[in-house]
């Protein structure tokens, strides 16, 4: 397991929208951290930096003991697994099995090892039967699980997930919590699903307008009504973090 | 426009296949490393887009509709090499997955629809852009003309192939007149849709229009593109007038150019109640979206009719040879 350190990260898109304004945070190896914030806060943009898909004008990103740069790009991509917000972007091969094999193949594993990884990754998400199916024939929840399998097959040490619970039914959501909690990996999870974050991540960051505005224990953050209201985060009706026991 | 097997003889089909393969190989070589890396997913998505847009039937005039070929559009958006590759993939997959276009005619179909249209469309577009002032509206007008010309060029290519290797029976002049005539009209529809599509893309993401890469970028993206609207109104008016006067009398739901030719020439020569006026003429021909019971019936009748008529013709021929 590896840690992550982001220092003074600032970024604007080519059309000059300033999205990240000096982001600083650090995650220890093995931590599970939630990243909360309103729509358009810059969450996805931040994640895209973590394996060099976007390159910031300012700031540094340290993954494990590597500082992100062109020379170490492929190594960093191997360590950081990325689950995209829309599974249709992530699943692009003709069959589920080929899609899950895409990462391991690129990282140069032999056929036998690739097959083994595909099998165990699909088993981990409980969807071994889907291997020969075409991704566009899957349901939303199945797509989501297969998308997660595509990064499990690369054995990434740091997993970055963008809204992993969207489209999952309640049971699927529960299975996802269990799966993610059992992985030997550092996790950074973006989600609007506050109960999910509370359950999975002991610690959370809140980002708004490209700045980290809060960083602390998830339960404490969710109990701070004023803070939540200020950043358009609302607890669902009937959900009270104070009444929930720790995992 | 998807030619089936048997329209053009083997030698000409093979010749076209060689030319088409050469064209595709050249495009592949020209697109080179860049395609391999960055643009494969983009090309694939654009191919899906062209495929989807080809299913778009647009109204041409009272009761008549045409559908987009998309070759010129792909070339203007992606450049001629990548555009040609994208449409090639579309045409080949249509033949293999949808039985749309004959396998022996694949070379012809790729040549006519995936190589002639992007190349002609691109050349006309670039030439016009050189002549016209460097403005967004010029790009829109050029797209319209380029797309219309590309469709006519494609029809002309068909006529040339027919004259080289057609199975005879109809004079080349008749075919030329009908094909080019009808496709000039279809080209107008193609031109309008292409121009509006390019206009929309130029207004939102001008950087995606390869053919207009040297235009000064529009900085204020929120401003409504008045130029586009003006062009549309003027172009549409001219097109509508032409269409209404030329085509309106032949109100038909036949969506495809080749078939349209058949109907038009048929109307002019044969008696008014020729055998095609029947229920099959209204069949929803786009092929892909027809699943219902009526299709079952039409399909069965069509195949039965094919063989019945074949048999009748065969008997007739035999009898004539005997005498």
């Amino acid at each position: 397991m590896i840690g992550l350190k982001v220092t003074d990260l600032s970024f604007h898109y080519p059309d000059r929208t300033q999205v990240l304004n000096g982001i600083n945070f650090q995650i220890e190896p093995g931590e599970r951290v939630g990243l909360l914030g309103p729509n358009g806060a810059g969450k996805t943009t931040l994640l895209l930096h973590l394996n060099g898909l976007l390159r910031a004008a300012e700031g540094t990103i340290q993954v494990g003991d590597l500082t992100l740069s062109d020379e170490v790009l492929s190594e960093v991509r191997r360590m950081v697994g990325f689950v995209f917000q829309d599974p249709d972007d992530q699943l692009f091969m003709a069959t589920v099995a080929e899609d899950v094999a895409f990462g391991p193949r690129n990282f140069g594993f032999g056929q036998a090892e690739v097959d083994r990884r595909v099998e165990s990754a699909l088993e981990a998400v409980g969807e071994s039967d889907l291997a020969p199916r075409a991704p566009h024939h899957l349901s939303g929840g199945e797509r989501r699980k297969v998308a997660i399998a595509t990064v499990l097959s690369t054995d990434s040490a740091l997993l970055v997930l963008d809204e992993p619970t969207s489209n999952l039914d309640p049971a699927g959501r529960r299975e996802l919590v269990n799966l993610l909690a059992s992985l030997p990996a550092t996790l950074l999870v973006v989600s609007h699903d506050l109960p999910f974050v509370l359950e999975l991540c002991p610690r959370s960051l809140i980002i708004d307008q490209g700045r980290i505005v809060a960083d602390g224990e998830t339960r404490q953050l969710l109990l701070d009504r004023e803070l939540l209201a200020k950043h358009r985060l609302e607890l669902a009706y009937g959900f009270d973090p104070a009444n929930i026991a720790d995992r | 426009m998807h030619m089936p097997d048997g329209y053009i003889n083997l030698a000409t089909s093979a010749g076209a296949a060689v030319v088409a393969a050469g064209g595709v190989a050249t495009s592949l070589r020209n697109s080179g490393k860049e395609l391999a890396e960055r643009q494969v997913p983009l090309a694939g998505l654009t191919a899906a887009y062209v495929f989807a847009v080809q299913m778009l039937n647009f109204p041409v005039a009272a009761g008549t509709s045409g559908h987009l070929l998309g070759g010129a559009l792909a070339a203007i958006l992606l450049g001629p090499t990548l555009g040609a590759l994208v449409v090639t993939v579309v045409v080949v997959m249509q033949a293999l997955l949808f039985a749309d276009g004959g396998v022996s005619a694949l070379g012809l179909n790729v040549l006519n629809m995936a190589l002639v249209t992007p190349v002609v469309g691109w050349l006309v577009f670039r030439w016009l852009m050189k002549v016209l002032p460097a403005r967004t509206s010029s790009a829109v007008v050029s797209s319209m003309v380029a797309a219309a010309v590309s469709v006519v060029a494609s029809a002309t290519a068909f006529v040339i192939e027919y004259s080289l290797g057609g199975q005879g029976g109809v004079a080349v002049g008749t075919v030329l007149q009908a094909m080019v005539g009808v496709h000039a009209l279809i080209g107008l529809g193609e031109g309008l849709i292409t121009a509006l599509t390019v206009g929309t893309v130029l207004a939102v993401r001008p950087d995606l229009v390869k053919g207009a890469a040297d235009l000064p970028l529009v900085t204020d993206r929120t401003a409504p593109s008045r130029a586009t609207t003006v062009t549309f109104v003027v172009g549409g008016l001219v097109a509508a007038l032409v269409l209404v006067f030329v085509l309106a009398p032949i109100a038909s739901s036949a969506p495809d150019g080749l078939e349209k030719v058949a109907l038009d020439t048929g109307f002019s020569e044969a008696a008014t109640d020729h055998p095609v006026g029947g229920p099959l003429a209204d069949y929803g021909v786009s092929g892909v979206d027809s699943e219902r019971a009526g299709t079952v019936l039409a399909g069965t009748i069509g195949v039965a009719a094919t063989f019945a008529i074949g048999l009748a013709i065969a008997t007739l021929l035999r009898r004539r040879r005997a005498t």
Partner: protein, 253 residues
């Protein structure tokens, strides 16, 4: 547009024809169709032979005849076209009832009808018995440039997504009273088509990111290139072989 037209012609099954490797079917289809096209239209018995070969293959494939025939409907516009040729054809003409029928036109019509129908039938057989991923692998093994196969693969993968977006746009337009009738009404459609291109393109960019995130370095990973046993080739090409025999016989007799 049906829900998943990427498989519009596919008939799920486990027949021996379904299990043949796609490349044998592709080569077989090409050889069969070339045989048909090379046959002179007057060799009527030869076409019966081809039809018989096709029917036997259909029987072996367990694809229902009804399914097969309806999928051949794509042939229809050309049936219509062919039917008209005798009426517009060149001299000499024969009189049948009130019509003057062109004799070469008649021959040409028959030629197109029978060849287009047999060709479409053979193509439908391939499409009905081959899964898309197998088809793509088959093309790759037949040495079709890997870039083209990759583009085709992306196209098929995203066809439903893109067509779905387009369909939703059109439904949304119809729901708000858009009913295209004249050429002016096409404008919203074209604007939708422009917007659709941008969305498709941007999705292409995101997909590219997703590929990079999993270590894509510009070389498309080629899946196993295992070779096919000669015996499988022979079995797969048997119908095509018979077609070649028929074609040669039709030339010689």
């Amino acid at each position: 547009m049906s829900g998943s037209h990427a498989h519009a012609l596919h008939y799920h099954g486990h027949s021996p024809v379904h299990h043949l490797p796609a490349e044998t079917k592709l080569v077989g289809l090409l050889v069969f169709v070339l045989s048909v096209v090379s046959t002179p239209p007057t060799a009527i018995w030869a076409f019966c032979g081809y039809a018989l070969i096709l029917m036997i293959a259909l029987g072996l494939s367990e694809v229902p005849a009804r399914f097969f025939i309806t999928r051949m409907a794509i042939d229809l516009p050309f049936v219509l076209f062919a039917l008209l040729i005798p009426f517009v054809g060149v001299e000499p003409k024969i009189a049948i009832g009130p019509f003057a029928i062109s004799e070469p036109g008649l021959l040409s019509a028959w030629n197109i009808l029978v060849k287009a129908t047999l060709g479409a039938g053979a193509s439908v057989m391939l499409a009905a018995t081959t899964e898309v991923p197998d088809l793509l692998r088959g093309l790759q093994r037949l040495k079709v440039p890997v870039v083209l196969v990759a583009i085709a693969s992306f196209m098929i993968r995203y066809l439903d997504v893109v067509a779905g977006e387009f369909r939703r746009t059109r439904v949304a337009m119809a729901a708000r009273g858009h009913n295209p009738r004249t050429v002016f009404d096409a404008k919203p459609l074209a604007v939708a088509s422009g917007a659709l291109f941008i969305r498709s393109y941007e999705r292409g960019e995101r997909v590219h990111q997703a590929m990079l995130a999993r270590g894509y370095d510009g070389t498309w990973p080629s899946s196993g290139n295992e070779r096919i046993a000669a015996k499988t080739w022979i079995v797969g090409l048997t119908p095509a072989l018979f077609a070649v025999i028929v074609a040669i016989a039709a030339r010689l007799l």
